[in-house]
């Protein structure tokens, strides 16, 4: 069984400042890690994922996440946030095979002008 912990329910940050959203997971098998984003009044959509290979993965809009096996973490970072990044961010894990996703509780990123 897998579980995901997102310790921060809300993260307020000023525009153009850096941000890190924390995600820790537990699993007894190999893991595949995902960040999904939900913009206001929109459905969940994939932001980025780690399956194998390079532990640093990037999204097209400037976010990156690093898979750290020893710390069982997959934190999401962005060096400079924009007002349009305001959204709910969900970390999720899958054990592969035919597994569905196990989600964390989500972190609400609030960008302050």
């Amino acid at each position: 069984a897998q579980s995901v912990t997102q310790l921060d329910s809300q993260v307020p940050v000023f525009e153009e400042a850096p941000v890190e959203l924390r995600c820790n997971y537990s699993s007894s098998v190999s893991v595949y890690l995902f960040w999904y984003v939900q913009y206001p009044n929109q459905g969940l959509q994939l932001l980025l994922k780690y399956l194998s290979g390079s532990t640093l993965v990037e999204s097209i809009n400037g976010f990156e996440a690093e898979f750290n096996k020893s710390q069982t973490s997959f934190h999401l970072r962005k060096p400079s946030v924009h007002i349009s990044d305001t959204a709910e961010y969900f970390c999720a894990v899958s054990g592969g095979g035919a597994d569905g996703l196990t989600f964390g509780k989500g972190t609400h990123l609030i960008i302050q002008p």
Binding site: Y36, G43, L44, Q45, G96, A98, D99, G100, G104, G106
Partner: protein
């Protein structure tokens, strides 16, 4: 390409009533998922179909919830009878392949309020 469609978008019922939700996945997607998202929590997987067969329904409260995927395309999720704690957003998602590593595409959800 059309996304995952869900209806209705909102539903208000009284406890002990029945309700059904409908999902039309992206064309050609083999795998379909139903998630329950209670306010303040992340989505929780209720049931997963591959084509028209159930892969995982371990978290589905089978005494009151049922789901089917007719002909491996559309799916319906039913609650009978509803309880107050069933108030949540019900999300449908689909993926092209059958592996848990495939990207899942989510619909807009159905917000259920049980009074």
């Amino acid at each position: 390409e059309a996304g995952v469609a869900q209806s209705p978008r909102y539903k208000i019922i009284e406890k002990r009533q029945s309700v059904a939700f409908w999902c039309n996945p992206i064309s050609g997607h083999a795998t379909l998922y139903w998630y329950q998202q209670i306010l303040g929590q992340g989505p929780k997987l209720l049931i997963q179909f591959q084509n028209n067969g159930v892969v995982d329904d371990s978290q589905l409260p089978k005494d009151r919830f049922s789901a089917e995927r007719l002909k491996g395309v559309d799916s319906t999720l039913k609650i009978q009878p509803a309880k107050l704690e069933d108030s949540a957003v019900y999300l449908c998602a689909s993926s092209l392949g059958t592996s848990g590593t495939n990207e899942q595409f989510f619909g807009p959800g159905t917000r259920l309020t049980v009074l």
